[in-house]
Symmetry: C2
Subunit: 497 residues, 2 copies
């Protein structure tokens, strides 16, 4: 057996562990009964440990390092597989197994405590866990790198090629170009929210409408599944098993609908990755940022367009005739693009959304780079949201305790959300030069848009880096000005004309 | 670390594998999208292989054998754990890993082929797989034992302590005492099936009624879950995660209801095992037979009693007012205990059910002990069902291809179904001397019956052997005459008086 074949054999075993761990987590998030968790988390820590041992075994390390040295002899995809394996290996190589397992346990515990703390509006309950998670992350970074900018290491983990310098430039654009525009819009928008937004929409028909959307977007149910969970998410093992969840809020139908379209964006991406990558480490989307560009493209650029609702608003009206009586398409379009000063990121409109991310980026940067203490976090959070959106946080669940990410030890993840939205805009301006986007939507031919994205982005899985994809698709490196342009064009028309 | 502690550590790892494999199989049977299976079965064979390696490692074998030799120094439960581990080890010890993995793959394939063959009514399609499964089983038995009665080995696998001699005695009783009685009943029963049995019952309300039953039976939803699947089943990892599935047939509501109560019997058993066994190999039910005694006790002795429907028939009527208009409790009681000559075991009534098992026992016995060839199986099946129930098999799905078990390589399993029904009757006659069974049902206090079974049977998990449980509960060894008595009492009253 050649080195490469032996490497592939171990990789396959890693994927086997990922599959059973993944399915078990899917189960945990969607339906497992609440009393099963103490037993289950103990069992999962054992299997995670086995997987960790495999991925840090001497044999595997030697193979990866040897193959890295001979990588010029491999073909293009094989070389990319080895490079990715090497990168992943370097991340965990020097972490002692016992600490790794301890960290997995801490994450599980911290998530539960965060849930309780949020429910009880008690930041102090979560505080010691957040402190531990941060110091763990700092320790982990120190194991792998002797950098004096640990946040850069985390940023690169979630988006290869990104660092503080690049993000600073991006967020400066947002701060200087977007924040004043948002304030202008907010000042001029009508005072009253359209009444139909928060009417009561029976869940049963919400479910039916979302099932209708699966069809509209050509999501393949032979390779996927729609289910419900508290926080919507997409999950996949390979291109032939890509699932999504939504939740149905009786008093906020648009949350269900747009969360569904958002997750559909992620799911279509994964279903369209070429199946030749299924058994490799190149099988998933290219990066968090590119992934988010797809979900936010489908959700906002496509899903909140007037063209889309020209086709599908009549259908929605037949399902909710009372709630949408006398609502015109124009009203509806304005309603689903309603801009507002709100506390909660996941419910924020497209325009104020990046300000929520800006805030998180600044806090994380301060924590990891400037030694900001957890003690001072809530006040800083509240100051910033006041300064960007002029609102006063009334309780921790509307501020510091609103997001799950930190409780899972994920620092450096948030910025990819804004980055993804910006990628999406840049890709969009290329797309409309190539195909008649609006006409396709009006002809209910979203499969043609899927195909365009498949051929330009999806099919490559993670065999290309984010930057490579952008250049390949748009002919340019990342340029945030498209994002600002897109937002200004759309929201000027809606609110300033 | 002592030998016992090290043994426990490996056991825990085995349980961790069992958990992730179990959850993945649960997913496969309930919701996984159809295109995911080729990838998934490859991954599962790897993890099964890992688990197999662990359970046959030199270290583990040495530990188990050493601890067996020192078992007098252990406490009672520890000793039982070691004895069970030793028994399990002996089952797989001498099987080469490659053959084991090949066998796991064969099972997966055979099940899919069986499904197709059944759909296409083509026994020849399944025949080569069935032949392979049988010769594999013979080979496996030969690895572990040099017995000249391989079927005894398989029978003991599913019900410790049982062999052909004991089953022969049991089935002779059935053949001699029950078959003539069944023929008498069938000759005298009214010609026309009550019309309400096969009316159309909307699935939505079937679902609601089954949810109502969960409550009635005090099934704990914090430790479980109800879901749908093609074949109803119960599945558990430990006492705090015990799930069941049902399927809803529009034209056969009683199939849904009694399958649900049957699975509830299994599930209540597992939920009531003492949690001190959760991390041990004594954590599940005592045996297939004892398990089936519980499911059939709840389904038939309790669930098809008049007392039960005195309480719950009014509720059912409110859910299906049109279908059950003019149906009296007496009509209903007769209808749910309708005796008939039918092809399908899982739909058979309580009285003819053991004849379906008798047939399977005789065939399996002939295959493994007398060299009956697969070629001759269908004809023999058809002859026997003709002789016991006087019906002519019209297609393979009504005969040889109806059950999933053989396609999973499970030979020796069927007899436990009849045995369980017989255990149930024996336990029942003890129970009614101890508590007022009928009064409790009429007072809707099934929790009291659960508690009786918990204290007498469930709490012990598999720390007691089937025979030990029977003696402990009833004061006697297994005696099939209770079963015959129970059936004759009930069905004489229904059909012969």
């Amino acid at each position: 057996m050649s080195d490469f074949e032996r490497f592939k054999e171990i990789q396959k075993k890693q994927k086997a562990y990922a599959l059973v761990l993944g399915v078990t987590n899917w189960d945990s998030h969607t339906e497992a009964p609440k009393e099963c968790f103490p037993y289950r988390s103990e069992m999962l820590s054992i299997i995670s440990g086995e997987s960790f041992s495999l991925s840090t075994s001497e044999e595997y390390k030697t193979l990866v390092n040897d193959l890295m040295n001979q990588r010029e002899e491999l073909n293009d995809y094989q070389r990319k597989e080895i490079e990715k394996a090497k990168k992943n290996l370097d991340k965990i190589d020097k972490i002692p197994k016992s600490e790794y397992i301890e960290y997995v346990r801490l994450q599980t515990m911290a998530q539960r405590v965060w849930e309780e703390a949020r429910e009880e509006e008690d930041f102090n309950k979560f505080k010691p866990y957040l402190e531990k998670l941060i110091s763990y992350q700092k320790k982990m970074v120190a194991y792998r790198s002797d950098t004096d900018t640990p946040y850069n290491v985390l940023l690169d983990d979630f988006e290869e090629g990104m660092d503080m310098e690049k993000y600073d430039a991006f967020f400066t654009t947002i701060k200087e170009d977007l924040v004043p525009f948002v304030k202008e819009v907010l000042a001029k928008k009508p005072k009253e929210t359209p009444a139909f937004i928060h009417k009561s929409y029976p869940v049963e028909n919400q479910r039916k409408f979302v099932e209708y959307l699966l069809d509209v977007f050509h999501y393949n149910l032979d390779r996927g599944l729609l289910k419900e969970s508290v926080h919507p998410f997409t999950w996949n093992t390979h291109s032939k098993d890509v699932r999504l969840t939504v939740r149905y809020l009786k008093d906020y139908v648009f949350s269900s609908i747009f969360a569904a379209i958002h997750e559909l964006g992620h799911a279509l991406y994964e279903q369209q990755v070429d199946e030749m990558f299924d058994m490799t480490n190149l099988k998933s989307g290219a990066s968090m940022g590119i992934h988010e560009s797809q979900s936010r493209f489908y959700e906002n650029i496509l899903g909140r367009s007037k063209a889309f609702w020209e086709v599908h608003f009549p259908k929605l009206k037949t399902m909710f005739p009372d709630q949408l009586k006398d609502v015109t398409l124009e009203d509806f379009y304005k309603g689903i693009n309603w801009v507002d000063e709100t506390f909660i990121r996941v419910e924020a409109d497209e325009l104020t959304y990046p300000l929520h991310i800006l805030l998180r980026y600044e806090l994380e940067r301060a924590i990891f780079n400037d030694g900001l203490s957890v003690e001072d976090l809530p006040a800083m959070w509240n100051d910033k949201i006041k300064s960007y959106l002029n609102i006063d946080v009334d309780k921790p669940s509307n501020g510091i305790l609103q997001d799950v990410h930190w409780s899972g030890g994920m620092f450096g993840y948030f910025p990819t959300y804004a980055l993804g939205s910006a990628y999406a805009a840049q890709i969009y301006y290329t797309m409309i030069e190539d195909i008649d986007f609006e006409a396709l939507i009006k002809a209910n031919k979203i499969d043609k848009i899927n195909t365009w994205l498949k051929e330009k982005i999806h099919c490559f899985g993670s065999s290309l880096k984010p930057e490579e994809i952008l250049v390949k698709v748009t002919g340019e490196a990342f340029d945030p000005s498209y994002y600002i342009r897109y937002l200004k064009e759309k929201y000027s028309k809606l609110y300033l004309e």
